[in-house]
């Protein structure tokens, strides 16, 4: 097969600041990518995978070694446009790569730059928009589209150049599960039908399942290269690099350690369930579920009561719509509550009511038994008692030092002197910010650390209720795990109430005591994770996901195994399989 991308002993170093040592983002990468293949690049933040991608179309030029695109050296300036036309790039933030304010104009941008005649541009724009399934939005304004739709427009903008290869640099990181699925199925189709080479850089291990080839980067080096099944079977090696494996592989790995004879290569839910069922034939007596440690509903007193909350935007205009409709639920003191729902299900509107940022159109919010809007002038004090950490909170940092930024909230509460100092240091400690970092500028820190600082800024107000909106969005697996561990510790040690808003079922399943599921502005269901996931079919029907482990459990139950289909952690499923297994014959 012909080669589209080739690197030879590629090194790259970002220009070092004075007095600093040069650090190499890429060191001796040798790689060839065949035309028409689907390649996924994995690696933790700072492993060099984005840098690698940017050398593929001469956005970055190698410090040493060579990069060839279809045989063309990227250092040859005369070939720049020819190279960029062949290798298209899609980036992480959909908003920052759309140039025009009409969809078709944006898709036309690249061919316009290439001097393609108008009629030909028209044809390419229409073809590209059809290829990504966005033809119905030809004359729409991009800022009104969803994240997944914007990314598909961005992909169309690249396809309009008629490239041989598309590189997606964490293009799915900022999307919700539906958006991610839209983008993935689009690029898989382009790869299959048009034979376009795809290089997908991602943090989401599941996206690698269907790839032809997986590359793993670590510290600027290419450390693994092979088909996904082979790569994911190297569980320990991946973990040591701060990566995770899909839950299916995690489960198989655990069971193997328990002495089961299972292959590590059963990557998809179906394969995994098939492998387990084949190894453990249907066992004797079916048992009722209950092997999972059930987190019980707390009986402590209610701290937040949401009563028939309704919020309507744009009253009296043609755009009038209810973002939240008649929502009622109670949050108990010390509870870890999860709220799950799609983008547009009303999650964001709902949580902005809980600390009085939005005023209900109908219904009321009780905090400690009192209506928060009883005295509208004192609404600020509610915000100190109910701390809200927004999505991507690092974008709100503004002070010269980390210390001052964390102090902003408590200072607004009127704290001064030693008391203020204590609040700041305590909050910094909770999220693992070291003392010497407090005097640094927040903008010098890495992405994950910035997020911790922003979280500390809310914790420093010592709120009775802490609301977190997608706290781990866009972080790499190790970053996600560390942050959630911090939050779990905080919950365990402080016994404070936490509300976690997420669209990741796995994240919710692993952390919360109780789940509220929102769907199109109202509460679809609520209960303990076991209760909610027991209705897995309904969740899937509603277009929501269930954790991958639960899907394995459901598939096993369908195969007639006596497994509670509402299991939602790998450990619990492992335990139930071990118990079920005792009754059967050894394999």
């Amino acid at each position: 097969m012909a080669t589209i991308l080739e690197t030879k002993d590629l090194t790259f170093a970002y220009p070092a600041e004075e007095g600093e040592e040069t650090t190499f983002a890429l060191q001796g990468v040798d790689l060839t990518i065949e035309k028409g293949s689907f390649v996924v690049v994995l690696g933790h933040n700072g492993s060099g995978k984005s840098t690698l991608a940017k050398t593929f179309n001469a956005v970055l030029l190698p410090s040493g070694g060579k990069v060839y695109v279809a045989g063309m050296d990227t250092r040859d300036e005369a070939l720049l446009l020819a190279i960029r036309q062949r290798v298209g790039m899609v980036f992480q933030n959909p908003d920052n790569q759309i140039v025009a304010n009409v969809v078709e104009e944006d898709v036309a941008f690249a061919p316009e730059n290439l001097g393609v005649p108008s009629e030909e541009i028209r044809r390419r724009v229409d073809d590209a928009l059809r290829a990504v399934g966005m033809y119905d939005f030809v004359t729409h304004a991009p800022h009104l589209l969803s994240g997944g739709q914007k990314q598909r427009v961005a992909i169309a903008g690249v396809i309009a150049m008629e490239p041989e290869c598309i590189v997606l640099d964490e293009a799915t990181a900022m999307l919700d599960p539906i958006g991610r699925q839209e983008v993935l199925s689009t690029i898989h189709r382009l790869n299959r039908e048009k034979g376009i080479t795809v290089v997908l850089i991602t943090h989401h291990m599941n996206e690698a399942e269907e790839a032809d080839r997986v590359l793993v980067m670590d510290d600027g080096r290419l450390v693994m290269d092979g088909p996904p099944r082979e790569i994911f079977s190297r569980v320990e090696a991946l973990r040591s690099m701060g990566l995770t494996v899909p839950d299916t592989v995690d489960l198989l790995d655990r069971l193997r350690k328990d002495g089961w004879d299972l292959p590590l290569t059963a990557l998809t839910v179906e394969e995994c369930a098939g492998a387990i069922a084949a190894c453990r034939p249907v066992s004797g007596a079916p048992r009722p579920g209950g092997t999972a440690p059930r987190r019980e509903e707390l009986s402590s007193s209610p701290i937040l009561e949401i009563r028939h909350l309704t919020h309507t935007y744009g009253v009296g205009t043609p755009f009038q719509r209810s973002a939240v409709k008649d929502v009622s639920f109670t949050v108990r003191e010390g509870e870890f509550l999860g709220i799950i729902g799609h983008t547009g299900s009303g999650k964001s509107t709902l949580i902005q009511h809980l600390n009085g940022l939005l005023r209900p159109s109908g219904g009321e919010i009780l905090l400690g038994g009192r209506d928060i809007w009883a005295e509208p002038k004192k609404i600020r004090s509610v915000r100190f008692r109910v701390g809200l950490v927004f999505q991507y909170p690092e974008y709100q940092l503004f002070e010269e030092t980390v210390y001052k930024d964390i102090a902003f909230g408590p200072a607004n509460m009127g704290k001064t002197g030693d008391e203020l100092d204590r609040c700041v240091r305590e909050a910094a400690r909770l999220v693992g910010i070291r003392d010497e970092q407090l005097e640094k500028s927040p903008f010098e820190l890495s992405g994950g650390q910035k997020r911790r600082v922003a979280l500390a800024g809310v914790l420093a107000m010592d709120p009775e209720v802490l609301i977190l909106d997608e706290p781990t969005a866009g972080l790499d697996p190790a970053g996600r795990e560390n942050l959630m561990a911090n939050i779990r510790d905080y919950h365990r040690n402080r016994r404070r109430t936490i509300i976690l808003v997420s669209h990741s079922m796995d994240e919710i399943a692993q952390n919360v005591d109780r789940i509220v599921v929102l769907k199109s502005s109202h509460v679809l269901m609520s209960g303990t994770p076991a209760q909610v996931f027991a209705r897995g079919g309904e969740l899937i029907e509603a277009g929501l996901d269930v954790p991958q482990v639960t899907r394995v459990a459901m598939a096993l139950a369908e195969r007639g195994m006596a497994i509670d289909p509402a299991v939602y952690t790998v450990e619990a499923l492992e335990r139930s399989l071990l118990t079920v297994g005792k009754g059967g014959a050894a394999c």
Partner: protein, 268 residues
């Protein structure tokens, strides 16, 4: 709350006024302004007002929207009226209030000035109401293309303008988010005197600027990746082409303009 601001005052439609080439509309507005400044009498002002009324009718823009466009300049209109009314010297005094006196010329000038400003604003607004910002920048770029010979970066300016238009809604949304986030940390944006209020804006402006720079940086890379290399050799998806209706509209515009000037010459 910021979302309520309607920017880019464009009302999509399918009338002749919407379909005209943006260059034609820009030229018509220029002719209209010239004629307006040459109008001196009830007759010529009447013609101008009639022309505007006809155009509004053709474009099917609601009269309410036209009047609403005047609201932001209400103060200027009133100010001009008062100034002209009281401080224009004239032969006959109509009313005397202390040192303030209204002359017959004053009354006439004030009336015409107010009319002129109102017609001027409504005329230009009619153009923005019927032309999308993107085709307006496109039209400007093409009209001013000859300036490139004098090293005026016309293409770059037009590109900047259309990117600015593209990012206005994004940045408004972002401002909204940052404001909410800082309010959640107890920022007080409403109370206090002017200086305190200005200080309270720092936690909003700093993140907003940082984010705007980050966006600009990422957008520049994304544009380069899509082979952007300046205006040279660029083609267009929609090529502007003068149609028959543009010829008719421009001829009519020229006739009115010349007519008003000639009438002015005769002191009418």
């Amino acid at each position: 709350m910021l979302k309520d601001i309607t920017l880019g005052q464009y009302f999509p439609g399918d009338t002749v006024a919407h379909k005209l080439d943006p260059r034609t509309k820009i030229l018509l507005v220029v002719l209209y302004i010239i004629a307006l400044f040459c109008a001196k009498s009830f007759l010529t002002y009447g013609i101008m007002a009639l022309c505007l009324a006809v155009c509004v009718r053709i474009s099917r823009v609601r009269v309410k929207a036209m009047v609403r466009g005047l609201r932001p300049v209400l103060f200027i209109i009133l100010f001009t009226a008062v100034l002209n009314l009281f401080f224009t010297p004239g032969e006959r005094t109509l009313v005397q209030l202390g040192i303030l006196r209204v002359s017959n010329t004053g009354l006439r000038t004030a009336f015409f000035m107010v009319l002129r400003i109102m017609l001027l604003i409504m005329g230009t607004f009619l153009m923005t109401y019927t032309t999308s910002p993107i085709s307006l920048t496109d039209g400007l770029e093409r009209l001013l293309g000859w300036l490139k010979r004098f090293r005026v970066p016309v293409h770059e300016l037009a590109m900047m303008m259309s990117i600015a238009l593209r990012f206005i809604p994004t940045l408004i949304e972002e401002t909204d988010k940052i404001m909410s986030a800082q309010k959640a940390r107890g920022a007080d944006l409403e109370s206090g005197n002017l200086i305190q209020k200005a200080k309270a804006m720092v936690p909003i402006l700093v993140p907003l600027f940082i984010s705007a720079f980050r966006r600009a940086d990422e957008l520049a890379t994304a544009m380069e990746c899509r082979c952007y290399h300046g205006g040279e050799g660029r083609t267009k998806l929609h090529v502007l082409r003068y149609e028959r209706r543009d010829g008719i509209a421009l001829t009519a515009g020229c006739l009115v303009c010349v007519g008003v000037i000639v009438l002015g010459r005769f002191g009418l």
